[in-house]
């Protein structure tokens, strides 16, 4: 006897073995128990989720010699015949090979005769979507009112190809994709029964490879066993499945986010050298970015992502620095790349181009930010005192000597300080957008020549970021360039509620926003037309809603 692959050897033989399809097996078992058995069933669902197996189990249950049962015995001659596919009364037809109307006519001839031994004559038509239109139509009358001894079971992966007239005559069962955890549990059962040594992690990887299909997972499992025998090492599984090293992935993600196209290309080169599947790599990369998008929009992302604690943490950290718009654009571009890779003549080039493109994407601007920026510009133009004041103010400042010694300890930054701070942040943003946005959240406590003191609310993760050596080093270098003297960076914690500390740029912006709302309200209340309305009708103002989203 030749070796049977695991998927065939472990084909489910009882309803209980149908993993992940409890909704189907329970309905069928109940139907059998109560004797309300429809005469035509349609099983649909993705590949390898148990359609054909369910059809055979149902056939056994209907024809078992122990009587109509939801627990076929698997020992009687009827059951064993079905298992080996030789049953006289259970006719398994390959719908894809017998597609014509003549095949259906033959079936109709056949159906008139009583079953030879068993209770029912059961026709299992697998891959039924391949029947021709005429064949389907020839089947309609028979399917609607078959003889009492006949049952039909159709199985297909593509229910949309089946005419509605057929669909309406069948009881339809949609098989689901099998959840990862359940596949892993089943794999564990099989590996125990086959006396194999394999870690849970490897089983998880294999299960993931199946993408919800039991047979795919088992085919992969076979491949792994063929490679490493009965003792399966984690490493062997990883190399065999072409798993992309997490480190390499993170590196690529970082390179893309930091717009370092050279490093991104280096990753592509390494992937190619390691002989990894490029599609696989793109897929994994896409999943990383998808994870980051989810981290951005969902508070508890763990449920939506099957990832372990450490990975999730890294992902969250990466996501903090990137804007949602950027991430979404990256995801869109990667999805396009993935499609291109399928049919590409030179996949490596396609991947390289895509990485370069991702790494050279111009940072997208949040529309709201842009608008508020224009608003503040406009306000400065209209409401601020004449700009000619400023050049005068600057020379005056050094002349006024007495004030500085007055409050040497006060952390409040002067107006010039806040302007210098704004200038520094703008400059940092130009060269290091992410670092710039970190600074935007900081409060400039002190800006005096050798020391730059930036405050963050207690517990902010940005403190940790600024304390990293290379980031601090970069920032100091930029600040030195800006101020013209050597600058030391100091990061301190401030009370989030403290009022005396200077505001961070983000906070100022928010305040300006509320300020605008207040003025809008005042304007509206003072409006003569509104006053007239109030006078005539004697109404009361409940709420003021700005109708524009734009400018004052």
């Amino acid at each position: 006897m030749a070796y049977l692959v695991l998927a065939r050897k472990w084909r489910p033989q009882y309803f209980a073995d149908l993993i992940g399809q409890e909704h189907v097996s329970q309905t069928l078992a109940n139907a059998i128990r109560s004797g309300r058995i429809h005469h035509a069933f349609l099983f649909t669902g993705a590949r390898g989720v148990g359609k054909t197996s369910a059809a055979r189990i149902l056939a056994k249950a209907l024809n078992c010699e122990t009587g109509l049962t939801d627990q076929p015995c698997n020992t009687c001659s009827s059951c064993t015949e079905i298992t080996s596919g030789q049953g006289m009364d259970v006719i398994e037809i390959d719908g894809a090979s017998n597609t014509g109307v003549d095949d259906v006519r033959e079936l109709r001839e056949n159906i008139r005769y009583m079953p030879s031994r068993s209770r029912f004559k059961i026709f299992i038509i697998d891959e039924v979507h391949m029947l021709s239109t005429n064949a389907f139509n020839a089947l309609l009358k028979t399917l609607e009112e078959p003889p009492e001894h006949a049952k039909f079971i159709f199985a297909t992966t593509e229910p949309h190809k089946i005419p509605i007239t057929i669909l309406s005559r069948c009881q339809r069962f949609d098989f689901r994709k099998i959840p990862l955890a359940k596949v892993a549990v089943r794999l564990r059962e099989i590996s125990t029964a086959e006396e194999l040594t394999i870690s849970d992690r490897s089983l998880g990887l294999i299960a993931r490879q199946g993408e919800g299909s039991m047979r795919d997972a088992l085919s992969t499992f076979d491949q792994v066993l063929a490679f490493s025998g009965d003792q399966v090492e984690d490493e062997a599984v990883q190399t065999l499945l072409g798993m992309v090293d997490r480190r390499l992935l993170l590196d690529t993600v970082e390179a893309i986010l930091q717009r370092d196209s050279r490093r991104a290309l280096e990753s592509a080169h390494r992937v190619d050298q390691l002989g990894l599947a490029l599609r696989r790599f793109t897929q994994d990369l896409l999943e990383m970015f998808r994870g980051m998008v989810i981290c951005k929009v969902v508070d508890e992302p763990a449920e939506l992502l099957d990832m372990v604690g450490d990975e999730l943490k890294v992902l969250k950290l990466l996501a903090e620095d990137a804007s949602l718009e950027d991430l979404q654009r990256i995801v869109t571009l990667l999805m396009k790349t993935q499609l291109e890779l399928v049919n590409s003549n030179s996949p490596l080039l396609a991947l390289e181009m895509s990485l370069v493109r991702l790494a050279t994407l111009a940072p997208s601007q949040d529309l709201g930010k842009l608008i508020s920026h224009i608003e503040s510009l406009e306000r400065r133009l209209t409401s601020a005192p004449l700009p000619t004041y400023r050049p005068q103010a600057v020379p005056k400042a050094p002349a006024a000597e007495p004030p500085p010694p007055k409050k040497p300890e006060a952390p409040v930054a002067t107006t010039t300080d806040s302007k210098r701070w704004q200038g520094l942040v703008d400059m940092v943003k130009q060269s290091r957008p992410m670092l710039g946005s970190v600074l935007e959240h900081g409060r400039p406590l002190k800006l005096e020549a050798p020391i730059l003191d930036v405050g963050y609310p207690k517990g902010s993760f940005m403190i940790g970021q600024l304390q990293e050596d290379d980031i601090r080093h970069d920032l100091e270098a930029l600040a030195t360039e800006y101020f013209g003297t050597t600058i030391k960076l100091k990061v301190s914690m401030v009370d989030a509620e403290a009022q005396d500390a200077p505001k961070s740029l983000v906070e100022t912006r928010q305040e300006e926003e509320t300020d605008r709302m207040r003025r809008l309200r005042e304007d509206a209340v003072e409006h003569p037309a509104l006053k007239a309305v109030q006078d005539v009708f004697g109404g009361r103002i409940k709420k003021v809603i700005p109708i524009d989203k734009g400018f004052v």
Partner: protein
């Protein structure tokens, strides 16, 4: 050909020979990987190892020689008839599979270019592929596994083949053809990991003609249309060579992109044209080079769909010269 005589693919060899030794050979395999990396050789080597009278694919016994000459009664080949494998072919093939093997212990079936099966043919194969007779071994070969039906893929044990590293092809080229290292580097890089391509008939195209083509290409200027149209006519004349020419262009612009990204010279394909690449990279930027590569990829896709060749080339060259 025994396993040992096949270059590279150590893991695949190991998997197959181990499964053979332990009797765990699956009933259906899907060998996937780029064209010309040795999938067919591997399949035939496996066939020989199975039928061989000495159980090792010796190459001397009658059975092995029959495999080599492809007249072994238990070796079935299914090849595209014209552009695709048709349903009638699959049906007659299935009829053969119902019979017992004649000489060997198993019937071995090779389905070449499995992705060229029509939808009907692929579906007709499904039931056979899932549960064939006990003594059947089906091997599907394809360069584009993603074009196969999911239901087909899920029924086979996957065995992916990877490209050969350029260094291996380069070494073989130098050993067997005695060409110098620059030429062998260019050939190896353009072959994209495929021995078939590297040793193919187009060596002259890839070496001398490439220089001429690239010289004309870089000499084009957006101002003068006539030379562009002439060149388009010239390269679109021969349908069979056109994809290779486009590949040459593509490799050249990829080199330019690499230089623009500051990658070292050892990542280049056209090692002998370094000077030209540097010169072209001087007048390009990332956006323009990406646009050109995009145009090349687009035109290759269009050629698969039977567009007017000359028109496509004219449009392409206008874009490249811009």
């Amino acid at each position: 050909m025994t396993f040992d005589q096949i270059l590279g693919h150590d893991r695949q060899k190991e998997i197959l020979s181990r499964s053979l030794a332990s009797g765990r050979l699956a009933h259906a395999y899907l060998f996937s990987g780029p064209d010309g990396v040795g999938k067919r050789l591997m399949a035939l080597a496996l066939a020989r190892a199975i039928v061989c009278h000495e159980q090792r694919g010796c190459g001397n016994c009658l059975a092995c020689r029959k495999i080599d000459h492809q007249n072994h009664p238990d070796l079935h080949l299914l090849e595209p008839d014209g552009n695709s494998i048709k349903i009638e072919q699959v049906r007659s093939f299935q009829k053969d599979l119902h019979l017992k093997p004649l000489e060997a212990s198993r019937k071995i079936c090779l389905i070449e270019e499995a992705d060229s099966m029509t939808v009907g043919a692929a579906n007709a194969l499904l039931k056979t592929l899932e549960e064939p007779r006990g003594d059947t071994l089906l091997i599907l070969l394809t360069a584009h596994p993603n074009r196969l039906l999911e239901t087909i893929r899920s029924r086979c044990q996957p065995l992916p083949f990877t490209r050969h590293p350029n260094s291996r092809i380069q070494a073989q080229l130098e050993k067997q053809l005695g060409i110098d290292s620059t030429e062998s580097h260019v050939l190896a890089a353009l072959s994209e990991g495929s021995f078939k391509k590297a040793f193919g008939k187009d060596r002259e195209l890839y070496l001398d003609k490439r220089r001429k083509l690239l010289k004309t290409l870089t000499g084009l200027s957006p101002g003068s249309i006539l030379p562009i149209l002439d060149f388009a006519e010239q390269i679109s004349a021969d349908k069979t060579v056109l994809p290779d020419i486009l590949e040459i262009f593509q490799a050249f612009y990829r080199d330019v992109m690499m230089i623009l990204q500051g990658r070292g010279d050892n990542h280049l394909v056209n090692l002998d044209l370094k000077e030209k690449i540097h010169r072209v990279s001087g007048r390009e930027n990332i956006a323009s080079i990406l646009a050109k590569l995009e145009a090349l990829i687009e035109v290759r896709r269009q050629l698969d769909r039977n567009v007017n060749r000359q028109l496509a080339m004219e449009v392409l060259l206008l874009k490249l010269a811009a």
